[in-house]
Point group: D2
Chain length 363, copies 4
């Protein structure tokens, strides 16, 4: 656009390109195109448009959160941009419902002509997964092949480069681990929390041991259950155990970062923790939104191409269902609830700590 | 794509064009672009993508329904394609919710640079309205100007041409008016329906006149209300009245077509009327979906640019709210409910008519 | 429930009562009930359940926000509870879509037996409107009658009492008007904002007057438009004009409160304004959600009972459409966007003001 | 209600009971109730209200479809009622999103007081699963216990009785197996379909065997994949294999019913197959809707109570995720797509068969 031209809606939005890019393969060679191929193309283009937007927000949020320290006004921006992605996600799910109006029989009209193109080749989706923080080692493999195996060289390089770039999980971990309030003056959250947990567990153990109405079999069962529950807490206080779980991919955050997330979620009403808590919630929503997207994708594939078992013993929808569970990134944040204490048991924050968490101006 | 190349997802979907077409005006001249302009551009591009898909389905449905007679297998296709648009509409509404994450202040970062581009310049949206059957004479005017006044010459011509093309309302009217069952052998639906209506109204009048518990003031009120109710039915049986309403834009369908729609909705359980009824329902859903879209648009404009009163005494969101009410096309189908009779009062279909409405094969 | 009984899901939820309360009038007297009356009853009960929840949140938010001053931890709670209502609202809209699966003909199977019961008798809905802050004088009247005219005495009294209780609009106004940062030490937001506005307007006027490429007709038009724009700003700085608009119902907030809302929305990135801004946004969402609810209701009534014109010259759906526009409560917050200034024009906050808006602890 | 009383909205809807049934356990003994327990109770009551409505529709659909033969007007009714449940399902998913506004910490305020009440005790949900056709033998077990193990005697009996009642899967199977068009005069769909499949497979095999560009390793791989594909078709033509799969729970429909469903989905455009196809589609939507419900439930449990590993080695959300996959009922209908043939390969229906599938009246 020349700077002297008045802005025109059609040109500003590049509609010649956007609306001129639907090339129906079923209509090549002068044939009448399959009516539903248009829906197939447009829906996938809409997915990719929104993936671009998601990457735009994701990269910006990562960049903002990577500052050390993060300037206060940027915190609201990070949360706002993550929440925007969360607002986009229902669109993606709904788009699968639209695509489901293409019946299996209508898909067959052009499906064979697409081979070997496949949604597995969506570079932007893989970029999203990488920048979210899905470690390459945690990816499901398909027939033993890498997730880049069917991509062009240029796209493969782009994805490999992204594996070395900062991730949302990574910058979150660093930012959490720096939380000043974990140890603040005389206050040691770790110790205070541990005290409460141990007291609670001890009380529970005594209740079981001294309950006269339990026969020995039930008492044994309850004690076993109690031991399991105790072991859930152990890694919180034992770095070695934690790091072992992390090496197995069962934990993603560092122990320090996890503790900080716990502190934030327990004392979220203090002014200085409000936005950090909002961020943690937004990240849970974000992960959940992508899970809903993967589940919707799995259902669509099941109904549109059926359950044909592939040579590798897997079918498309089963792979996608499995990915919906395994490719979650912020599972540690979901698991925070496991370690919550009832408000009335919470260690009280010392007054000077609370004061530091407040605004300078007080009404 | 050369026919010898294997199909590649990125190329098939034209992603070089689709993902390369976001040109942020705020970033021109080497400036740092306004972050939210990307959302603004991508959302509008997504609208236009779906508008293209909607036109694709709409034009196909019009073409199918324009056949005389419409071959049976095409009927299912028409309904399916209208229902697909209905499945797309919630996406459009949801996209406004996404765009609402752009705050007024963020919009101000680039809003002035867009002038005079405007959503009023969406050619595809105007095409949708025209092909739906919105008569140019029913359009709200903005400051006295035509809806094409801010468009390029090429786009103006495209819209003017579309005003002469078949519309969904038009082909629906012709198809309804041909309904064979309105008069079938000895059966005259019009006469049978009128008989029932007149008997019901007569009974209602006598109830009011003879009710001993009414004093004269209330009786007068009830008789006035009754007369209003009677007058609602008159145009159904009086072509002159009907055509007068139609000339004023208060009715859109021909009298004959409206009667046929009434018959279909009253006897929808007969096999031959099942799909026609489904079509009428889908058209009501379709109109409602566009109304929801316009309402969502009005709300978004209100919250993003406020209620600044323009020179013409109108503001953006007030225009859009008014259009949401005035630009509905299939209001006659909404109004069908006004003329429904309780099932137990319905004139019974003669056996030979019911038989003709059934499948040849009977279980 | 006896305290010694173990808690049982069915009893805890009162399911004997909840699931035993569907009494189909069409099934009275031993008749076979109309199948769809169950949907009609259940949907309305679900509406009322959610209305109860909305009132629970609304009353709590009003109570919290009525504190002077509002303790910091309560602010997050207020926002959270308003946002919860916003999460409930799409349920209400979706419930109308479910009810729309009851066709007009199916409704006729039992509709006459419901007379004179009507959704206008929903006491909880009227309570919600009153507690939101809809002034009784702004209510649309139906046939000249009060909104309580068809209610029992007990319900009428309950509504009349609610008219005297604190409203969300009312406590918001008081809380906004107390905002300390409007005038803070040497800083006077009002004066600073006014300076910028006047400078901008003066610059705009000179541009029009001195533009050599305008002929006199166009220059006159542009100056007229400019004057209109100027007049939009006047009431902000002139209490008399403001109060006159308020007396006409065109403004709902006090001038002081509106100014504070403007300050919050312009400097939202300062830590102390983050939650207040979030609150304003939530209130806009809340109003918009009820508007969407009313619009969905209007559409449902239109398709289910048609456009029959009542004795008062109004039809159900037209009343509801009008209410969707007139019964909005927080229109002032929508209109804030009218008075926004581009970030680069914003008066800078003095350093000591910014400091007071920050946390005591600084990283 | 006395028959002489005018109908009153509040009484008609039983609002004294519905709105009086929220008894907050956290508020017992004169304590201040936990604010969020109201949301917990209301949301669960809303679930149960909708479960009642779903059962109402489900039972009616089962009853209608159990007729032999099903009278034509009932077919539309069956589809309509299934589609109504499909319209209700998004409400259920959305209700989980509302419940997710209750944070883990807020839940802890009253969670312990609910023990041992649990959503696993929802009798109506179990009834829905049973009447859908989930065989008791296919249910996931929890710690080895029956799904009735934590229910009252009365509820256990009600569920056991429901296991003997007709199921939607059961009446569908019987209705499909009676489809007249599988063998009609000289036409044998089974044989015609088999011919086409065998010809296609033979052609595929020859292509692989004779392709000069394949080296022996790749040819071997492709032939293996081809064999797997062939084996997928075998059970269609071999009742013993089919029944073996059915005994393992891998197939739910009888072979005859599955074939009929295949015929319906391949020739869906014939008038007499239109509604049957619509039914099959609605059943896929129905199953998918419950899957989405279970997935949303799993996510909610994960975020609200975390991933605490129970004594049985399972956690709540993992059980629910597994159920989302294993408790689907109409998987056979999803799998139909596996056996679809491209339209151009479809055996043509003989003219007399097509005629029998048409309406008696022809335009």
């Amino acid at each position: 656009m020349s700077t002297t031209d008045p802005m025109y809606y059609w040109d500003y939005l590049g509609l010649d390109e956007v609306l001129g890019s639907q090339r129906l393969v079923s209509g090549s060679g002068g044939r009448e195109p399959a009516h539903d191929e248009m829906l197939f193309v447009v829906t996938h283009q809409a997915f990719e448009l929104w993936f671009k937007q998601i990457l735009w927000e994701l990269e910006s949020a990562i960049e903002d959160l990577a500052h050390e320290p993060v300037p206060e006004p940027l915190m609201g921006q990070v949360v706002h941009r993550i929440e925007r992605i969360v607002a986009i996600q229902p669109l993606l799910v709904q788009q699968f419902h639209v695509l489901a109006t293409m019946t299996p029989l209508d898909f067959l009209d052009f499906r064979d002509e697409l081979i070997p193109a496949s949604g597995f080749q969506s570079v932007q989706w893989r970029l999203i997964e990488n920048r979210m923080g899905l470690p390459p080692t945690q990816r499901l493999r398909i027939l033993g092949a890498s997730y880049t195996s069917r991509l062009s060289e240029e796209h493969t390089r782009r994805l490999e480069r992204s594996e070395t770039e900062p991730t949302l999980l990574g910058v979150l971990d660093a930012w959490l681990a720096r939380t000043p309030f974990l140890r603040f003056g005389d206050f040691d959250f770790w110790a205070a929390y541990r005290d409460v947990v141990e007291t609670m567990l001890e009380r529970d153990r005594r209740l079981i041991e001294s309950n006269p109405s339990l026969d020995e079999v039930v008492r044994r069962q309850q004690l076993d259950a109690f031991e399991t529950s105790c072991r859930t807490f152990e890694p919180l206080f034992d770095r070695e155990q934690w790091d072992a779980l992390r090496a197995q991919g069962k934990r993603r955050l560092s122990q320090e970062a996890f503790l900080a997330a716990l502190l934030i979620s327990l004392y979220r009403d203090e002014p200085a923790l409000h936005l950090p808590y909002r961020l943690l919630t937004a990240l849970v929503d974000l992960d959940e939104g992508f899970t809903a997207f993967r589940n919707a994708h799995a259902q669509l594939v099941h109904r549109t191409i059926g359950g044909r078992i592939g040579t590798g013993g897997t079918s498309g929808h089963e792979y996608l269902q499995a990915a919906a569970r395994k490719h979650q990134v912020f599972t540690d944040l979901f698991d925070l609830a496991t370690y919550h204490l009832p408000r009335k048991e919470l260690p009280a924050l010392p007054e000077d700590v609370r004061e530091q968490m407040s605004f300078r101006y007080v009404d």
